[in-house]
Symmetry: C2
Subunit: 162 residues, 2 copies
């Protein structure tokens, strides 16, 4: 559904929470503060750690901390930490340089790169610091009107033709 997984949702919630309150956090504390089940939160944190988004400290008084200031962590880094490289389609995944089997005949799928790039850049603009602020009403309005415009565009010219 062009939808991120719940795990990624959790990851962003946790990361944003860490951004709002610096310092080392135990996984258990983060779980409680974000109302995410502890084993799940722990799993997410491990993945964030492996991706280098957060640093970890083992042992007593250990915990997790953001690897960099929130302004320097793009939301796409959090997403990629959980979901792997943002590749909208398989053949748009440039980690392998191999072309998909239809590449020669289709030429269309290659254009997914375009979409991929657009999405990637859109996400790169948003940092954890941005996410710490409460939502702005103007933003919601913007989004809603943009969607309504689309609906009008779709239903208007085609109408109930068929």
């Amino acid at each position: 559904m062009l939808r991120i997984s719940k795990m990624t949702d959790y990851a962003v919630v946790i990361a944003t929470h860490m951004a709002a309150t610096r310092g080392p956090h135990a996984a258990r504390d983060l779980a409680q503060e974000t109302q995410i089940p502890e084993p799940t939160a722990s799993k997410v944190l491990k993945q964030l750690s492996r991706a280098g988004v957060v640093t970890s400290q083992r042992g007593a008084k250990g915990g997790y901390a953001l690897a960099r200031p929130p302004q320097q962590i793009g939301i796409h880094q959090v997403i990629e930490a959980i979901e792997g490289p943002i590749a909208v389609t398989e053949c748009a995944d440039e980690t392998t340089d191999s072309l998909c089997e239809y590449e020669t005949s289709c030429g269309v799928r290659a254009n997914w790169q375009r979409i991929n790039l657009a999405v990637h850049q859109a996400l790169a603009q948003i940092t954890l610091a941005d996410m710490s602020f409460p939502i702005q009403d103007t933003l919601v309005t913007l989004l809603r009107s943009s969607k309504e415009a689309d609906r009008a565009r779709v239903t208007e010219p085609s109408g109930e033709v068929h």
Copy 2:
């Protein structure tokens, strides 16, 4: 994985193919030309039709045609035809005006609207007409270097700290 489904991939391939060669197309022909299994292609076309992206004509000599010129069909309309509204997370889905259960306590999740808007706008920029052109080398280079920059940014400052 922030990844569209195969069905949506098919939908874009088919729609782009239709954009490149105007006129009514039988589902069977489209299936053969795009190398997509016929029942699957047919299913996709029905969904595109219901969403108003293509028009349909029943009976002998019937078929499908784009509802509007390719320049006026945004890639997000094709995606939404198959996957429903582009809502990156559940609580970012504004079709229901209800706030998610954590809304009051979290305030973070509401910021998904931001991401949603960014992705939506990114996709709206790209039309079917854009997809008809063969990929540009510059674009690939851009994408690749942008990703590599990210990797460097992630691995460099955190390094092998832990």
